[in-house]
Amino acid sequence: MVSIRDMPKEELLLPGHAACPGCGAMIALRYALKALGKRTIMCVPACCTSVIQGLYPHTSIAVPVLNIAFAAAASTASGISAGLKARNVEDVTVLAWAGDGGTYDIGIQALSGAAERGDDIIYACYDNNAYGNTGIQRSGATPYGAWTTTTPTGKKEHRKPLELIMLEHNIPYVATACSAFPDDLYMKFKKARKIKGPRFILILSPCPIAWRFPSWSTVEIGKLAVKSGAWVLWEYHNGKLEFTGWSKLIAEGKLKKIPVIEYLKHQGRFKPILKDEKAINEIERRINDYWKFMKALKEALK
């Protein structure tokens, strides 16, 4: 772990960007860029970040950024990585930075292709559980019971476990992170930078607008997600799976998991199901199943 004082002070995300107040994704991007450093090329498909950069001729991101079509984040990153290889540039990291819509739904074929080809890229998905930029429509990442403009009575399906789909691709590095733990996120990007091949990091970034909570609770909500077990922090490297941060403490029994209702009740998006005991039990069941699966997977990979 890295302490706050040891964090690099250089900022590659500049103040005055267009993110909403309390944006979780910008905490994540700030620390991802701190970890990867100046020698990075970013590919950003249509997502919040392509708006957040600001208006031409200015940008808030102090590394080269390519704005590309929605489905093409991973394939463009593959192309850049191949170009760098042809020119014998070795110290540059290629980062594809996409939202959950551009990863779970629209970009998954390009991502799967890049993983299969073994291209040397880091693919980071900041997951705010909806198409936040276009007005909060449901995506493959929206959890069970959550309100969006296209699921007004709460979503009836569970989210797609994309991190496990990527794990199945047998790539060198897969990790999950959360905006509320920038130090954990920083360490994961730092580690991913040194590894060659396709790397995938999935970041839960609480969104005050889509999740319907006050802007000052971003970090608190992220912490509650991990504490309730609704979001699990882990990393897979060298054929081994490790829990990290608070999830490690929960897995070892040092930290008690809080009931998921504590996490749901702070968010307006779960209002349709908050009094529905069956739905809460369904969410709890899913969380327990996920934990059971991850623990078994950890044992199996030992």
């Binding site: 103040p15 267009a18 950069q53 600001g54 208006l55 001729p57 802007s215 000052w216």
Partner: protein, 91 residues
């Protein structure tokens, strides 16, 4: 005639690419330096990079770019930051 160069729309990294985003603020965080213990948690969590570290190690809020989300006020462990409506005094 063949052009020997292509003109691309390239943006340059600039502070305040969306202008002075501090204008979006309705509430304003104010640091009480008597209570501040220099833990830098406010700097750590700020999504707008609007908190700078002074030479003496204390954080300082850049009101030009602070959007007033209140994360620093909410996360401050020693309650050294107060959150006041714009135009009102601390207290």
């Amino acid at each position: 005639m063949v052009k020997d160069h292509i003109i691309l729309p390239v943006s340059k990294p600039t502070e305040g690419s969306m202008g002075k985003t501090g204008l979006w603020r309705t509430f304003r965080p104010v640091i009480n330096y008597d209570k501040c213990v220099k833990c830098l948690l406010c700097w750590f969590y700020c999504p707008d990079i609007a908190i700078k570290i002074r030479d003496d190690g204390y954080p300082e809020i850049d009101y030009c770019y602070c959007k007033g989300c209140g994360i620093c006020w909410h996360e401050c462990k020693v309650k050294a930051i107060s959150f006041v409506r714009e135009g009102e005094e601390v207290g």
